[in-house]
């Protein structure tokens, strides 16, 4: 570049023209810097926007200090279906059947050894008295997402839209889910469904929005017989720790090693 001074006159305007010109080497080296500069500009803005759009959690709540779980006593369940109703109201779950975050099953074990499991509309509005004859034993079992410690649904999610939060609740990021249904296939408990309007996966969140405000899940709030017990495994004294201490406890499909955090007391061997 130094040899490119203006050949026609002795003045020094050649230097000026040199700085105004941009040769290929300069162009490339500067174009390398451009995206980085763009990033610096972009970084500032959306962060503020996101913070404004999504309200911050209540200041006092520290998720690392909790590990939520639920206890269920089928011996107390009367099959009134109020928990299913409350769950649908609280979480805006579609009203039509087949979309449930929690539901009730009626087990009828007949004297011939056959087991009949029914759940008309998830148990909303109660169950019609059973018409089976030759009943050996019969009872209700509330079901919901088992909030596994090793959740298969989280393992298979290709985009990281479902995850275990720091307080031990398996959640779905609705705005990031691509609706591929892998998680629905992977869940051994049938606890997930595809929301018919948003086309994203949905499931029980233990009413996470209630937990952070110090409330219990809606199903636990309305259960008239305290068949559902909610609590924190990190708390030494809680209704749940007392429940797990004084009852024989079983989890569903323990052989799958999902380590569920929904604990059933005195569960019948026929329950799957």
């Amino acid at each position: 570049m130094r040899n490119r001074v203006c050949p026609s006159c002795p003045c020094d305007h050649g230097d000026k023209s040199e700085s105004a010109r941009l040769d290929r080497r300069d162009f490339l080296s500067k174009s390398l810097l451009a995206p980085a500069a763009l990033l610096v500009v972009l970084e500032g803005k959306p962060a503020d926007k996101a913070a404004a759009a999504e309200a911050p959690p209540p200041a006092a709540y520290d998720p690392t200090r909790h590990n939520y779980a639920m206890g269920i006593d089928p011996g107390k369940c009367i099959g009134c279906g109020r928990c299913v109703e409350a769950c649908k109201t609280e979480n805006d779950v579609p009203r039509e059947p087949f979309y449930f975050r929690t539901w009730i099953e009626r087990y009828v074990i007949q004297t011939d050894g056959e087991t009949v499991v029914t759940s008309p509309n998830g148990g909303i509005g109660g169950f019609a008295p059973t018409t089976e004859t030759g009943i050996l034993r019969t009872f209700f079992v509330p079901k919901l997402c088992n909030q596994c410690t090793n959740p298969p649904c989280v393992q298979v999610c290709p985009v990281g839209a479902t995850f275990t939060s720091q307080d031990g609740v398996v959640l779905v990021d609705g705005s990031y889910c691509i609706g591929c249904r892998y998680c629905i296939q992977a869940c051994p408990y049938g606890a997930r469904f595809l929301h018919p309007v948003t086309h994203t996966a949905e499931k029980c969140t233990f009413c996470y929005h209630r937990l952070v405000k110090g409330l219990v899940p809606a199903c636990v709030e309305v259960c008239p017989t305290q068949a559902r017990i909610f609590g924190d495994l990190k708390e030494q004294a809680s209704p749940l720790s007392r429940f797990t201490r004084f009852n024989p406890i079983q989890v569903l499909k323990a052989h799958l090693n999902t380590e569920p955090k929904v604990y059933y007391a005195n569960l019948d061997g026929e329950v799957r």
């Binding site: 490339l28 174009s31 390398l32 995206p35 980085a36 763009l38 990033l39 972009l42 962060a47 996101a50 999504e54 309200a55 911050p56 959690p57 998720p63 011996g75 107390k76 369940c77 009367i78 099959g79 009134c80 279906g81 109020r82 409350a86 109201t89 609280e90 979480n91 087990y107 009828v108 509005g125 109660g126 169950f127 008295p129 059973t130 009943i135 019969t138 009872f139 209700f140 990281g160 995850f163 275990t164 939060s165 959640l171 990021d173 609705g174 705005s175 990031y176 969140t205 996470y208 929005h209 209630r210 952070v212 409330l215 219990v216 809606a218 709030e221 309305v222 008239p224 017989t225 305290q226």
Partner: protein
């Protein structure tokens, strides 16, 4: 540095820049801050609106009912079990009113007889029990008590009464086998009915030489299941006929 290396470096640099740009636009903000997920998703889930206010919220204004509720059979019930979700009412008490269910169906949802319900849970036969009358006419739902002491055992022990009614023991009164104090009818936990304690009790009808009807099946008490009281093997409310 040789020119060809420079050119390669430039191309490589461009690729890195494209990757950085793509990551910037495709990976959401806050992804990976805590784990392999969008940390802000937790906040947006936590920010959802609560619909069920919880009984503590109800008690702030309705403290009289909440107090009355405490010591009775419905003490464990949250207000919103019967009155529906109440957060909207708690936010605007004069604009939003909750349901006050008076229909029979509302109570029958829990109290209609169903064999799948746990034994001992208070249940009635909706057809036989004062059929068209609303339950709240006789029972105060905030402090439910039977309006008078039940006259028949089947009022509470419906499952047993129904089982026994179609069994060979249908004609036997409950009190024939269970000595029951009067106060059990008023306060069931205060005094429990007895159960037959000896084999000879059943033997009054079922022993070989017992002075009872010929149709009644007989056993030899000396040789038949010596170690057990009869009801440890046989269910007296529905004895096996073989």
């Amino acid at each position: 540095m040789p020119q060809q290396i420079w050119r390669l470096l430039v191309v490589f640099g461009l690729l890195v820049a494209a990757l950085v740009l793509a990551r910037h636009f495709l990976i959401p903000k806050t992804f990976g801050e805590v784990g392999h997920y969008r940390a802000a998703a937790v906040d947006s889930i936590a920010a959802r609106k609560v619909k069920y206010a919880g009984r503590e919220t109800c008690a702030i204004c309705h403290d009289d009912i909440a107090r009355n509720h405490g010591g009775h059979r419905h003490a464990g019930l949250s207000c919103e079990v019967c009155h529906g979700s109440g957060a909207a009412h708690a936010d605007a008490p004069s604009d939003v009113h909750l349901q006050t269910p008076r229909q029979r169906a509302q109570c029958l949802l829990c109290h209609a007889y169903d064999p799948s319900r746990p034994t001992g849970f208070p249940q009635i036969d909706p057809v036989a029990h004062n059929a068209p009358k609303p339950c709240v006419g006789c029972h105060n739902p905030h402090a439910p008590e039977p309006p008078r002491a039940p006259e028949e055992c089947g009022a509470c022990h419906g499952q047993i009464a129904r089982t026994k009614a179609v069994s060979p023991h249908a004609v036997l009164a409950c009190t024939q086998c269970h000595q029951t104090e009067k106060r059990h009818m008023v306060n069931p936990a205060a005094s429990r009915p007895s159960k037959p304690a000896s084999r000879e009790f059943c033997g009054q009808c079922h022993a070989r030489g017992a002075p009872s009807s010929k149709e009644i099946p007989r056993v030899d008490l000396e040789t038949h299941g010596q170690r057990y009281v009869c009801w440890q093997c046989h269910y007296p409310h529905s004895p096996e006929l073989k």
